[in-house]
Symmetry: C2
Subunit: 467 residues, 2 copies
C-alpha cells in the first residue's frame, strides 16, 4: 500500500480526468431511468435502475448484488479486501423525486441534457451524480493497482419516501455492513461559493388528510350556504396550524425543542450569509418566518410544519359551480433535537381533530416512518479528513453547516451499526433537486471525482488503519 | 285555429307518445356531443352541437340559423307565423358543465346510457333534454296542422360560462326577438314529489385568484420555515372569507341585502320540506350555514361566497417535500336583491388585498360578467298557465319556489326586451347536473313533452291572443 498523496493518487486523478466524457455518458444513461420511488407506477423503473447500478459496480471491480427489502430493492457491493485498512460504508440512493410539474421543465426530466456547465435531469444532483462519483473513483483506483481502503456500498431505492425499509435491511445485514464510518454521497453542499460540511440534519414526519363534506359534488348555486364546503373547512384547518407570525400553533409542538446556546448562535452568525438577499435569491417578495430567528436559524435549527399539497374542487380552465365532496392536504414537519417524529405526528393529528369545524369529517392517512434529527461530533476524524480535502481543493477552510432537510439513514446507521455519517456530496443546494429543471454542475462532478480520490487516499491513516 | 284542449292537442300528445323511442334516440345523439363551454379545447364540439340543433329545428319545421356571438354560437329559429297569436321566445342552452371528476362516472359522460328510468350523460338534464322537449313538441304540432302560437327559439352555447355574449346578441337582434314572454326550457323543477314553479333566482359573480410565493418550487426541508408557503397563505386568506358560523366576513357584503318580510318567511315555511333530513339527503354529516335562517332560506334568499376550487403543490401518490411557488382558488358568489354583481366582486377583491399575509403576492383574474338576482310577479298570466298545466298533470297545485342557482338570461331578457321569463323545465334538482352521473328521468322527459303540448295549447288565450 503506497503512501498518501503519492503517485497512485496522481494516476487515479489523471485517469478520472481522461475518462470524464465516458463518465458523463454513464450519468446520462443512469439518469434516463425514471426511478420515481413515491409513485407505484414506476416500480419497474426502480428495478431497472438497481440492475443498472449493480452491473456498473461489477464493471468497476466490485462484487455487487441486489438486496430485496420488501419495497424497492437496494444494491450492495464490496471492493476487493485490503487487509488492515479501515472500512468505509458508502451510502447513496438511486431513487428520485417525482418530476411534477412537468410543463415547467425546459427539457424532459428523463432526457438528460447538457446546457453550459450543467447536466439537466431529475435525480442527476439528488443523488445519481454524486453517487456515481463513488463508483467511478473505486473503478479508477482498481485500474491504478487497488484501493487503499475497504469500501462497502449500500445504495438504496427509497430515500425519497423516507427510507422506509432501510432500517430492517441494515438490521438484517448488520454483520456484513460492519465498517468504521459511513461516507454519504447524498447530502448536498450548501453553496457553490463556500465549501461546507454538514454536521446536522433535521428530522421529519409527515401525514395526509382528507376533509369530507357532502356525499357527492353538489351544485354551489342550489346548495351553497346550506352545507359546509370542504374547501372552506380545510382552509380553516390549515390556517389554524400556524399563528400569524408563522410559528406553528399545534399544542406541544415546541415542548421538546432544545433552544440554541449562545455560542451555537454565534457560530451560525459567523457564517457568511446575506440575510437581506435571501428572499430575492428564491424569488420571494419578502422574508417570512418565526419571529426572533435569522433565516439560517429558521432553516437549520427550528422545526417546521409545511403543507406540500392542498387540493379540492375544479382546477380546469373557466369556472365550475361546484361544492366538492372532499378536499385534501399533504403535510410534512421538519424536526430538531429533541423532537420525536411519532410524537409530533400525533400532536398534529390531535390538533386537526380538535380544530375540525362542524358539518365535515376528517380522515388522516399517509402513515410512513418519520426520522429523528441527527448531529455528528464536529471533531470526528473522518470529518477532519473531509475538511482537509476541501481546503486543498478550494483553497479555504470549509464551514460547518446544518441541513434543513432530512437524511433518515443517519439515525439508522447510528442506531443499528453505531456509525457516524460524513456527508461528502458534490451536489449543491441550488441545483433544484426537488423542483423542475434539476441539474448537476459538470465542474462539481469533476470536483467530486478528484475529492473522493483524495479522501480515500487520506482517510486510512486518519482512522488508524495500516498505511 | 282550433280551441284549447281540443282534438289537435289530443293528436299532438298521441304523436309524441308514439314517437318516444325516436325522441330518446335524438337525445342520445345530442348528448353524445361533448359541448363543454368552459374549456376552450371543446370549441369544435360546441359548434357541432349548434349545427346538430339547427338541423333538428329545420327538420321540426322551423326556419333555423346559427347566430355568431364572438364566443360559442347561438341557434335561432322561428316556427311558421300564426297571425294574431301571441309569440313565445323559447330559451335553452346546448352547452354543458365539465364532466370532472371523470373517474366518478359509472358510464362515460358522453356515452349516454339508460339505466332503469334514467338516461345518464353530462348535460342530459341541464339542459339538452328539457330543451329538446320544446323542439319535439313544435314538430308534433306541425304534423297535427300547426302550432296555436308563434315560437321563436333562442338557444345559446354559453349558459355554463355566464351567458357572456348573450346580452350583446339580444341587443343586436332586439327586433326579431320581440315576443310576449320568455318560456325557458332551463331551470330545473325543485323536487320530483312536488310540482313547483320558479319565481326567483339568485344572481352571481365570480373570480379566481393566485397567491405567489417563491419564484419556483422549493425543497421544503431546505427552505421550510424561512419563506411563506403559498399554501399556508391561501388557506389563511380563504379562511378569512367566512366567520366561524359560515357567515361571509367580507366587509359590506350584506349591505344591500333585502331582509325577508314576515309573510315571505311564512310562505317559505309553509312549503313541505324536511329540515332535519336535509343533511343526510346530500350525504353531509350535519346541517351548516348562516345562523338564524332555515335551509331553504339559506339556499333561496341569502347570499353566499363559495370556493369551487382550491389547489397548489403536489397531489400525486406518496409525498413530495415541496413548497410550491403558487396556489390557486376559484370563487363564486350567489346574490340576492338588491346586491350588485360588480360591486360584490370588488368587495371580495378588496377583502383579499386587505387580508393578504406577508411574503406573498396576489393576482386576481377570471373576470366574467356577473348576473343580477331575478324575480317574476307571481300573478303573471303566463305563470298562471304553467300552474294550471302542472295541476292537471300532477293532480295538485304547484308551489312557488326560488332558485339558489343563477340564470343570467332573466335579467338580459327583462332589460333588453322588457320580457319576463317563465321557467318550464322538466329536469329536477336532484339530477346531479353539476356532478358526476348526471341523469334525466325518462318519465320526466315524457311529462315534459305532454306538458309543453298542453302549455302551448292554453297560453294563447291567457296572453290575449286570438283563439
Amino acid at each position: 500500500v503506497s503512501a498518501p498523496g503519492g503517485p497512485r493518487l496522481e494516476a487515479v486523478i489523471e485517469d478520472l480526468e481522461a475518462g470524464f466524457e465516458a463518465h458523463l455518458r454513464d450519468l446520462v444513461a443512469f439518469a434516463s431511468i425514471p426511478s420515481v420511488s413515491t409513485d407505484p407506477a414506476y416500480a419497474p423503473d426502480l428495478r431497472r435502475a438497481a440492475d443498472w447500478l449493480r452491473a456498473r459496480l461489477e464493471r468497476a471491480g466490485a462484487r455487487a448484488e441486489i438486496l430485496e427489502t420488501g419495497g424497492h430493492p437496494a444494491v450492495y457491493a464490496e471492493t476487493p479486501v485490503v487487509p488492515g485498512a479501515p472500512t468505509l460504508l458508502v451510502y447513496g440512493h438511486y431513487d428520485v423525486q417525482p418530476p411534477d410539474p412537468l410543463q415547467a421543465w425546459l427539457t424532459p426530466p428523463f432526457s438528460p441534457t447538457v446546457r453550459e456547465d450543467r447536466l439537466y435531469a431529475r435525480g442527476v444532483s439528488d443523488d445519481k451524480g454524486p453517487m456515481l462519483v463513488a463508483v467511478l473513483v473505486a473503478e479508477a483506483y482498481g485500474r491504478a493497482g487497488g484501493l487503499p481502503v475497504n469500501l462497502k456500498f449500500l445504495l438504496e431505492g427509497e430515500e425519497e419516501v423516507g427510507s422506509r425499509h432501510l432500517g430492517a435491511l441494515v438490521r438484517r445485514e448488520r454483520e456484513r455492513l460492519k465498517a468504521d464510518v459511513v461516507l454519504s454521497a447524498d447530502g448536498a453542499m450548501w453553496r457553490t461559493d463556500l465549501p461546507s460540511l454538514n454536521v446536522a440534519s433535521r428530522g421529519s414526519t409527515s401525514l395526509e388528510f382528507t376533509v369530507r363534506g357532502p356525499g357527492k359534488d353538489l351544485h354551489s348555486g342550489r346548495h351553497g350556504g346550506a352545507v359546509h364546503n370542504p374547501l372552506h373547512a380545510i382552509a380553516s384547518l390549515v390556517a389554524s396550524l400556524h399563528d400569524s407570525s408563522g410559528r406553528v400553533a399545534v399544542r406541544g409542538f415546541y415542548d421538546r425543542v432544545r433552544e440554541l446556546s449562545g455560542p451555537e448562535r454565534d457560530a451560525i452568525r459567523a457564517i457568511p450569509f446575506d440575510e437581506a438577499a435571501y428572499p430575492a435569491s428564491v424569488g420571494a417578495s419578502a422574508a417570512y418566518g418565526e419571529a426572533g430567528y435569522s433565516t439560517l436559524e429558521r432553516q437549520w435549527t427550528r422545526p417546521t410544519l409545511e403543507l406540500n399539497g392542498l387540493w379540492g374542487g375544479y382546477e380546469g380552465p373557466g369556472g365550475k359551480t361546484v361544492i366538492p365532496s372532499e378536499a385534501h392536504a399533504k403535510v410534512s414537519c421538519r424536526l430538531v433535537p429533541d423532537q420525536d417524529p411519532d410524537e409530533v405526528r400525533a400532536l398534529v393529528v390531535a390538533h386537526l381533530r380538535d380544530h375540525l369545524p362542524g358539518g365535515v369529517s376528517l380522515e388522516v392517512s399517509g402513515d410512513k416512518p418519520g426520522a429523528r434529527p441527527y448531529a455528528i461530533d464536529p471533531a470526528h476524524p473522518a470529518l477532519g479528513v473531509a475538511r482537509r480535502v476541501l481546503r486543498d481543493l478550494y483553497g479555504r477552510d470549509p464551514v460547518d453547516v446544518r441541513m434543513g432537510g432530512t437524511v433518515p439513514i443517519c439515525e439508522v446507521f447510528r442506531h443499528e451499526l453505531g456509525l457516524d455519517t460524513v456527508f461528502f456530496s458534490f451536489s449543491t443546494g441550488d441545483e433544484d433537486f426537488h423542483s423542475p429543471n434539476e441539474f448537476f454542475r459538470l465542474s462539481r462532478f469533476r470536483d467530486g471525482l478528484r475529492a473522493w480520490a483524495m479522501y480515500l487516499d487520506a482517510v486510512g491513516p486518519a482512522l488508524g488503519g495500516a498505511s
